[in-house]
């Protein structure tokens, strides 16, 4: 139907005052009902796969794992007591915290450096941007397999280089001391290019007069960075940091693809441990308790975001 076909139409105000009996108007629903109806499919699906399972997970964590056809007995906080005594859980949590504390700032620093390079006048800008951003497009599983090859003890590129320099080769993924950092490298490699584009956008919004003023004042490059660039990209930094932090506590693909938690749980992270307990050990009660811990971690990050960030920056 052509929008401009109607010759004599009432003003919107007149229409609002007395609803015309035209098609569409006559069957107009109460806006409250209509709003809910529109949202209903999404709400039903979200409830089914996010809210209800979250609540059920928390409830299940107070019950034992059901065996056979018997209903699971209520055990109160037993699962959590077991968790406190579980060295693998302690290891997973510790690994995950280290993972987050190292990968998040590192990825942000590298991303900002990349953005500064790509934003500046440098020969081969397009090629550099391509090199930085391409890892982001790869599936993590593909990246993990590529890095497995890269890390191979005998003929991986890193070990070839190390040996060419006359040092003994390193089994990066087999040594508990290097396995976790080796996984972190993959994460940073894949994430930095993604974060780079957010910084790039932020850098392009820095008002040119600021740089002009700095030039007139003969400010050094470092002063420009500290006084202009860094404060101006701060909201972006916080936004990226929150996202990177959430991702750090949901890391699992590269653990499954590269180490399976080995050697000796040196690379076991929270979500990987949940996956193991739930689908290898089939201990659903304990898995629920572990998932509850993960939910609490994610909720804390959400609250931190709520209180730390000016929400208008990103959610308005």
């Amino acid at each position: 139907m052509n929008l401009n076909s109607s010759a004599e139409r009432p003003s919107p105000d007149a229409l609002r005052a007395s609803p015309s009996p035209r098609r569409g108007e006559g069957t107009r629903l109460n806006p409250h009902v209509q709003g809910w109806l529109l949202a209903l499919p999404a709400v039903a699906l979200l409830a089914t796969f996010t809210h209800v399972p979250a609540v059920k997970t928390i409830i299940d964590s107070f019950f034992a794992t059901p065996r056979g056809n018997h209903a699971a007995p209520f055990v109160g906080l037993d699962q959590y007591r077991a968790m406190l005594a579980d060295p693998i859980f302690a290891r997973a949590l510790e690994n995950n915290v280290i993972y987050a504390l190292i990968t998040v700032p590192l990825a942000i620093a590298i991303a900002l450096a990349m953005a500064l390079v790509v934003n500046a006048c440098v020969t081969g800008r397009a090629a550099l941007r391509l090199a930085f951003f391409t890892p982001t497009i790869l599936p993590m599983v593909a990246a993990a397999n590529i890095w497995l090859f890269f890390y191979t003890p005998d003929y991986g590129l890193i070990n070839q280089a190390i040996r060419a320099l006359g040092f003994a080769g390193v089994n990066f993924l087999g040594d508990p001391a290097t396995a976790l950092p080796a996984l972190m490298a993959v994460t940073v490699w894949k994430e930095a290019g993604f974060f780079m584009i957010f910084f790039l956008a932020a850098l392009q919004q820095v008002p040119p007069d600021l740089h002009e003023a700095a030039r007139l004042e003969n400010a050094s490059r470092w002063q420009v960075f500290c006084r202009i660039t860094w404060p101006m990209v701060m909201p972006t930094t916080l936004f990226v940091a929150i996202n990177a932090l959430i991702n750090a506590f949901r890391v699992v693909d590269q653990v499954i693809a590269m180490t399976g938690g080995d050697p000796n749980n040196a690379t076991t992270l929270l979500l990987f441990y949940i996956y193991q307990v739930a689908f290898s050990f089939w201990d659903s009660g304990y898995a629920a308790a572990l998932s509850t811990v993960l939910l609490v971690v994610l909720a804390s990050i959400a609250l931190a975001q709520f209180f730390l960030l000016d929400r208008r920056i990103h959610y308005r």
């Binding site: 806006p31 529109l38 006048c121 391409t134 890892p135």
Partner: protein, 274 residues
């Protein structure tokens, strides 16, 4: 160099450092490319005379049902995207344009999913799929992601910027709500749909844990899971073939990215910022 450009030209030394860093960043991928396009014997030796070959790709293709995995992944990502467009459009329109009671609380509850993605609650969601009889089906892999908080958020923002007058005009023509969405909101929010579509396709092309848990047959496995099964089953550690397989599974996205680089990056930006 234009005078308006505010950023300085990098000094030769900084440029050199930047190039070295770029090279370092590209190394893992370049090494994989080298191995994939050379015979196994030359995979780890660097000689310009080493013959190029496509045999590794052919061997990977024959060794596992990658054709089927490709079909599964394409069906999966397109199905999810189509369903997301419908479901999220309706919800976003409801939240943006009908001031119904509880809309703010509802929106806050929806945003919870940005944090608690379906793969965080793997065990409960697996049970739900069992109840629904959807284990080992593509529908089961996609269903938890169809109502996407991210999509609703993005489209709601877009719809809010569309002038109410256009909406009113369509209503005056007698268009009902669905017709108004179709004729006014969809065309005007097109760039946002493109951006969201790209982000959605690349996310689900790469998604791994949830499909790994839900699928257990060749008929349903997407590429990522297929690649993992292929690489972890003993290949006699033939890295050339594994690299070829890894590159093959990423190729469609990579090629699309190379062709539409600018659009890709802008879409990611549009989707990430406001």
């Amino acid at each position: 160099m234009s005078a308006r450009r505010t950023t300085a030209r990098l000094s030769p030394l900084s440029s050199l450092a930047a190039w070295l860093f770029g090279l370092l960043w590209g190394l893992p991928l370049l090494y994989a490319l080298w191995a994939a396009f050379h015979p196994a014997a030359d995979a780890t030796h660097f000689s310009l005379l080493a013959p190029l070959t496509l045999k590794n790709f052919a061997r990977a293709w024959d060794a596992a049902p990658f054709a089927r995995y490709f079909v599964n992944t394409v069906l999966l990502v397109l199905g999810i995207m189509a369903a997301q467009f419908v479901i999220c459009t309706l919800a976003a329109f409801g939240l943006a344009r009908t001031k119904f009671r509880g809309a703010d609380v509802l929106f806050a509850l929806i945003l919870v999913q940005l944090m608690v993605t379906p793969d965080v609650l793997i065990l409960e969601n697996y049970r739900t799929l069992q109840t629904l009889g959807l284990i080992d089906t593509l529908t089961g892999v996609g269903l938890p992601y169809v109502a996407s908080a991210f999509g609703i958020f993005l489209l709601r923002q877009a719809f809010k910027t569309i002038p109410q007058e256009l909406d009113d005009a369509a209503r005056l023509e007698g268009a009902n709500t669905l017709q108004t969405i179709w004729r006014v909101y969809l065309p005007l929010a097109r760039p946002v749909y493109v951006a969201y579509g790209l982000v959605s396709v690349s996310y689900h092309w790469n998604n791994f844990l949830w499909p790994l848990i839900v699928t257990n047959s060749v008929e349903t496995r997407p590429l990522t899971v297929g690649l993992q099964v292929f690489a972890s089953v003993d290949q006699g550690v033939d890295w050339s073939v594994i690299c070829a397989a890894a590159l093959m599974t990423s190729a469609p996205l990579m090629i699309a990215f190379l062709v539409f680089q600018r659009g890709f990056i802008q879409s990611f930006l549009r989707a990430g910022i406001r």
